[in-house]
């Protein structure tokens, strides 16, 4: 638990991957915030989730900027995975009574950014774990 909040200095390749993940989290969060003000605010529960996604994404990216890489990886996955699942459900059976018919440009940007964020965060986190373990062993 302490490790989650402790600052880490991973190797440059790991940091680059995590920075890409952060950029993707930021893009998806920005889109959620923008869409909140473009009509989703009135959609019960979903609107609030969009708003929370934008705020949460900002906080998560800040954790990486201040060196808490494990908190960032956990936060990025905690935001992007449920968001992707929610998008999939809202396009099929519906989520909280809200259904969408297809993926327009805005939805596609979010899906691509969040899938990329998950991949970069996982690979970046794994790379960071390996390099930090090697450093500790040396």
């Amino acid at each position: 638990m302490r490790r989650l909040f402790a600052p880490s200095r991973p190797a440059p390749p790991a940091l680059a991957l995590l920075a890409l993940a952060a950029l993707c989290v930021l893009v998806a969060g920005f889109q959620h915030g923008r869409l909140f003000h473009r009509g989703y605010a009135e959609v019960e529960i979903i609107g609030l989730l969009f708003f929370m996604n934008a705020i949460g994404s900002t906080v998560v990216v800040l954790t990486l900027i201040f060196g808490r890489i494990w908190l960032f990886v956990l936060g990025a996955l905690s935001i992007c995975v449920p968001s992707l699942v929610s998008i999939a459900i809202s396009h099929s059976s519906g989520l909280f009574g809200f259904r969408e018919g297809g993926y327009d440009g805005d939805a596609l940007v979010i899906v691509v950014a969040e899938v990329a964020a998950v991949l970069f965060a996982l690979v970046g986190g794994a790379t960071a774990a390996m390099t930090l373990r090697q450093r500790a062993g040396a």
Binding site: G29, H32, G39, E42, A54, L62, R99, D104
Partner: protein
Amino acid sequence: MRLALAALVVLVMAFAISGVGMGEAPAERQAAPAADAVAAAKQRIDAGGATTARGRALFADEGCDRCHSIAAAGANGRLGPRLDTIDDDAEDVAEAIVEPREDIVDGFPERLMPDDYGERLSDAQVAALAVFVATAAGSEAEREDEDESGRSRGRGRGDSSGRGRGGDEG
């Protein structure tokens, strides 16, 4: 360096979170009906028959109110076009429910509305939804009835039937 980057992130996201410079929902470009038109629509809905009542229930149950606005029914959705200012009759509304991508109102997302209502709902349910929307909008027979009653109440008075709404098609 870190503080500058953090400040930049916060600044960029502040725009999205506050909505500054993010534009407006397409539905906000459509004028809301006047108060007297809303009152008239409420009367039409209340006076409507079982089909209208069933359509109103379906409108909420199927989540139409999440995206569409009908002031008289308390629906405030802004993702799709307003439905209380349309000029379509029930038949046109039914077609739009079943084939929502045939006629997209300018500025609205093309693929947002599910296009499976024709399969998920029975013909009777689609018809009930369409009658409710047309009744709320005051199209066809209802509007003619209002005209008739308005004329009988006395010529020369202001029109309170909500005509001249001039909204986009849904």
